[in-house]
Amino acid sequence: MLVLLSVSFVFAPQALTQAPPRHGIGAIRGRVELRRVATAAERRPGVAELGSPRGRDLPDLRRSVVYLESAPRGAFEPNEGGRAVMDQRNETFAPHVLAISIGTTVDFPNSDMFYHNVFSLSKTQRFDLGRYAAGHSRSVRFDRPGIVRVFCEIHSHMNAFILVFSHPFFALTDAEGRYRIENVPAGTYNVVAWNEGTWSDPKSVGVTGGGIAEQDFSLR
């Protein structure tokens, strides 16, 4: 229940007012340290399979998402419809985490020589793209903010996250955990880091026009 509350609070557009923007824009940067890196979902034991399973790639679970818990007024203009890609390759969704704004359409190409079946039963967006072969792609447009867990019906170890924001103030960390949120209107904001279903406590960060605010996170 706690988790659900925090999810809805974080992503709901109603929570948009915090500090009125001052003149100028700045940026927030920092690093997310993962005290414990989540482990990739294992295959089910596959006792009924006649042979060994084929090799697969392991998803990169070190990528975190840092975002403003609330955003300045005027930050919620409708997105004109960007596009993003979540590939299915070697029985793995790549990337494992996508962070997008509402209105974005995500393409799910199948780059494997066998079927996948992407679906989600998340409250934010339920969809099922059915089975399609290599070289084909299907798309979903995400119009509501929230967290969408994505799975493959055929390969139960395949899973991914899509974080849908109602504002543009978020960033994905790089391989070293560094992030940078650009074009943040001057003001004071609560900033949160997320990794594999774990949230940091919100940190209050002041952004000045032309300045770069520093904020590091540590996730257990």
Partner: protein, 405 residues
């Protein structure tokens, strides 16, 4: 006692699951850095009473009133060796070993595996997906579940005796062999795995499997009960994504040594064989999944006295199944099944009849995902049996809740 056993199982799960987790597991439990994985399937089924015994899997278990818990595990002991096992309990009885084998991959870069122990079924398509999660309906295909009147440990003395038992496969007794009442066998058992050595090789497009085991497809065994082994093989083609075409064959001595000796004396048990041939096709695309499976099984039984059995005793099964996803997390499914039997001639009063009563089943149903790994299924099946002393027709409803990780 069974309550304690169930409690111990739940406690066991809890002790290995991360302390912070507030929900039931949704992924396999990984231990020792992923070298050990443990998965589970739990299905609880409750359905209409079945006085015609259409859905019984043995004398005391109906597939429509069953709580089944499977726990499977894989231990990766290096790049060449994996140990795999599965235990199962039905209606909170004893946990019994269902699978226990070692998988050896002699060359890591070649798709060749050797399985030794209680190995997955080589024959057919359905036998390896009997888990509730893989079955879109609640009932099983007739070929894998419906109990015919043949037993490996007891044999009829003549055609008249076999015809007299038509439609009573859930509990049958014969003159020779084991005198106790017991259930007959299905064409192919989905409820036990055979023991032996199996070799599997293949590519993405072609896969082949061959095995030498102790029992037969109808009567898988842990210890052999006669002097012969079964040889089984399967070839599977996957010419395009979504299409699987398979062919299987198996042959092995069916009748146990004691029953054969009782009927015709020593040294003949190898002659009383089960030979089965199967063909299966699966095609899926988008939201559709279609499956066909046909099986022909021939049994050669002892001929003791007139009126003689007309050998082989043949059973032919045909099964067509379809599933369509209506919405995310909601699907509808249907299966049509028929079992036919070859004719034999009994007494003048009996005449010439199929050696067991032909059965037809039509099952429709569907499932809704409460969450990804928690599914509620509902189904209705209409069973018709042409002959025998039991109920000739039954309409049975059932609900099943299944959970897997």
């Amino acid at each position: 006692m069974t309550v304690w056993r169930a409690a111990a199982f739940v406690a066991c799960l809890g002790s290995v699951w991360p302390a912070g987790a507030q929900t039931l597991p949704s992924e396999p439990i990984a231990l020792a850095g992923g070298r050990v994985t443990i998965g589970g399937d739990v299905s609880a089924t409750y359905g209409s009473p079945d006085p015609g015994y259409f859905d019984y899997t043995d004398y005391s278990h109906s597939a429509l009133r069953l709580l089944r818990i499977d726990v499977s595990a894989a231990l990766n002991a290096g790049e060449h060796v994996t140990l795999l096992g599965e235990v199962r309990t039905e209606n909170l009885g004893k946990f019994r070993p269902y699978a226990a084998y070692v998988r050896i991959r002699p060359w890591t870069k070649r798709n060749i595996d050797v399985n030794v122990g209680r190995v997955p079924p080589t024959f057919g398509a359905f036998a390896r997906r009997t888990y509730a999660n893989d079955n879109p309906l609640i009932g099983y295909p007739l070929a894998y579940q419906y109990l015919t009147t043949l037993r490996p440990d007891a044999v009829p003395g003549d055609a008249a005796e076999l015809l007299q038992k038509r439609g009573t496969g859930w509990l049958v007794r014969y003159r020779y062999g084991n005198p106790a009442l017991d259930g007959g066998v299905p064409l192919v058992s989905a409820f036990r795995w055979d023991t032996g050595v199996q070799v599997h090789a293949g590519t993405e497009a072609v896969r082949a499997t061959a095995a030498v085991t102790a029992g037969t497809v109808a009567n898988p065994l842990f210890r052999d009960d006669n002097s012969g082994r079964q040889i089984a093989a399967r070839l599977e083609l996957r010419p395009v994504a979504g299409l699987i075409v398979g062919g299987s064959g198996a042959r092995g001595p069916f009748v146990g040594e004691t029953a054969a000796r009782g009927a015709v004396g020593d040294g003949h048990d190898r002659e009383f064989t089960q030979t089965a041939w199967g063909g299966d096709v699966e095609y899926s695309r988008g939201y559709y999944l279609l499956r066909y499976e046909g099986i022909v099984s021939d049994w050669r039984m002892p001929i003791v006295r007139p009126p003689e059995l007309t050998l082989p005793l043949r059973a032919v099964s045909t099964s067509v199944e379809g599933r369509y996803k209506i919405l995310p997390g909601l699907y509808a499914a249907a299966r049509v099944d028929h079992l036919a039997f070859s004719h034999i001639t009994g007494t003048d009063a009996q005449g010439t009849l199929p050696w067991d009563a032909p059965v037809t089943r039509i099952e429709i149903g569907g499932g809704i995902s409460v969450q990804r790994n928690l599914v509620l299924k509902l189904s209705v099946q209409r069973n018709t049996r042409n002959g025998g002393r039991l109920e000739p027709r039954e309409t049975l409803g059932a609900a099943q809740l299944l959970f897997w990780f």
